[in-house]
């Protein structure tokens, strides 16, 4: 174990591109490049942005009935996942909270998981304890990049024509510049795009090649955060955690019908009860009326000055052109269009409860 933050295979490229490096979940990552968060955000909405997400955990599960076994830890239906298909899910705890969110894909002879950087170790030990007989391999010699935006397809097409056939949440293994890569059509920005797992030795070469395209620019974690917030996507640790259930977080869509009928995942009692009967609080979109961003931790009050919830993610949405936020409010207060007050630095700021996402998601269905 080294002491300081870890570096991804693209570290020297980030430095060369002028990335402002920060410690994020134990990794030295670019928060932005000289273009700045706003510019990088806009590039992702209009052209193509390249993000290094190598800090996220890539894990292989291999063994008899791996999908069925993993279903004991997550509420997604994985057994019916066809080869080359991916699904968003989350590890739940016995109280129905969320231990981490992840993507699971069926890669034929194994399952391929992508988990949050800060949860890598915890997730692996959780699976190791629960999934005896299944081989659990953390991939530590591959980079992961996200190529996102309306021009992502065009940028990748030049180097990997096969990727064009993919639809949202589908993946293939294909050659890019002679290198075998795992390419999945998904992301966390609300835009069409791809996540590409690349052997570490060739990661920089491929990243440079993609960046050579006139429509493709590097983007950092700052833009990634404002993009996912506008897209209404939860950030683990902010919007979802061990206490909040997927029903409160509006993630019920990720619990497929068979699993609702059968249960058999941690916390099923609470989660299935909540699906049937509702929850006290709900995650909603919040649009402040003024220009002041309201960030995580800000109290939400109703018109009568009663506290009804708290913001869990908030900031400035460059595409929206103003502040945006999401947070939990009492379910009885969550009519769309309800006026609320956000207590920012002790002063009430008017805001409105609104639907998520703030922008139209543009996935290639």
């Amino acid at each position: 174990m080294t002491s300081g933050p870890k570096r991804t295979p693209l570290y020297s490229l980030h430095c060369e591109l002028g990335g402002k490096m920060v410690d994020f979940a134990g990794w030295e990552m670019p928060v932005q490049y000289p273009m700045g968060i706003m510019g990088e955000h806009n590039i992702c909405r209009t052209k193509a942005a390249l993000f290094d997400v190598s800090h996220m955990g890539q894990v292989i599960l291999r063994g008899p009935n791996a999908a069925k076994r993993l279903e004991a830890l997550v509420p997604a239906a994985l057994m019916e996942l066809e080869v080359g298909q991916a699904r968003y899910t989350f590890f739940t705890n016995n109280e129905g909270g969320i231990k981490d969110d992840l993507i699971v894909s069926n890669a034929g002879d194994h399952l391929f998981l992508v988990v949050n950087a800060s949860m890598r170790e915890q997730d692996i030990s959780h699976m190791t304890e629960a999934l005896g007989g299944i081989e659990i391999i953390e991939i530590i010699d591959r980079a992961l990049i996200a190529l996102q935006g309306p021009a992502a397809e065009q940028v990748l097409m030049t180097h990997c024509p096969e990727a064009i056939g993919l639809k949202f949440m589908e993946s293939i293994t294909a050659l890019i510049d002679g290198v075998s890569c795992k390419i999945s059509r998904l992301g966390y920005t609300g835009e069409d795009g791809f996540e590409i797992s690349i052997p570490e030795a060739q990661a920089e070469q491929i990243a440079r090649m993609l960046l050579d395209h006139s429509e493709c620019f590097p983007a950092g974690l700052g833009a990634r955060d404002s993009l996912r917030l506008e897209a209404g996507l939860c950030l683990y640790g902010n919007d979802i955690d061990e206490m909040r259930s997927p029903v409160e977080a509006n993630l019920t869509w990720a619990i497929q019908k068979r699993r609702r009928l059968e249960g058999g995942f941690p916390g099923a009692t609470r989660i299935l009860t909540e699906i049937a009967g509702g929850t006290n609080q709900k995650l909603v979109g919040i649009k402040p009326h003024g220009r002041a961003p309201a960030r995580a931790g800000v109290e939400i009050q109703n018109q009568n000055g009663q506290s009804i919830g708290e913001i869990t993610s908030g900031g400035f949405g460059p595409t929206v052109g103003g502040p945006v936020a999401m947070g939990y409010v009492d379910s009885k207060e969550v009519d769309l269009g309800s006026q609320v007050n956000l207590i920012v630095r002790g002063k009430p700021q008017m805001a409105e409860i609104c639907a998520l996402p703030f922008i139209k998601q543009k996935y290639k269905r």
Partner: protein, 121 residues
């Protein structure tokens, strides 16, 4: 005209009987894209070190600290609707306050440009 600099990255320059206060180009660059500023109002009095406003960038909220004692005579109203001016010209058009100094000799306790350059190096 002499400009004075604080360790909190504000600049102060004399303008007749008044002083003008803003944030330095270095501060603006560190903050990144600025999207909002909360300013004090005319007549508000403050002491050196008091919080006299908040700047929100895409990344985070940062306080503005008074470099000297004084009273707000004018808050730059351009910034309310055009906070990005703080990124474009933090040391000219995007001044934040015109203030009345309580004790002009306090300026001597601040840095000159050379000292500030060394400070941020």
């Amino acid at each position: 005209m002499t400009t004075y600099y604080s360790e909190e990255h504000e600049w102060v320059t004399l303008d007749g009987d008044l002083a003008i206060v803003g944030i330095t180009a270095h501060a603006a660059e560190q903050l990144g894209d600025i999207v909002f500023i909360e300013q004090k109002e005319e007549g508000d009095e403050f002491e050196s070190g008091d919080e006299i406003g908040v700047i929100e960038s895409v990344k985070a909220a940062s306080e503005i600290y008074a470099p000297v004692d004084g009273e707000v005579v004018e808050a730059n109203s351009i910034l309310e609707n055009n906070p990005s001016t703080l990124n474009e010209s933090p040391e000219s058009d995007a001044w934040i306050y015109k203030i009345k100094l309580t004790d002009p000799s306090q300026l001597e306790g601040l840095m000159d440009l050379a000292a500030y350059k060394t400070f941020i190096a």
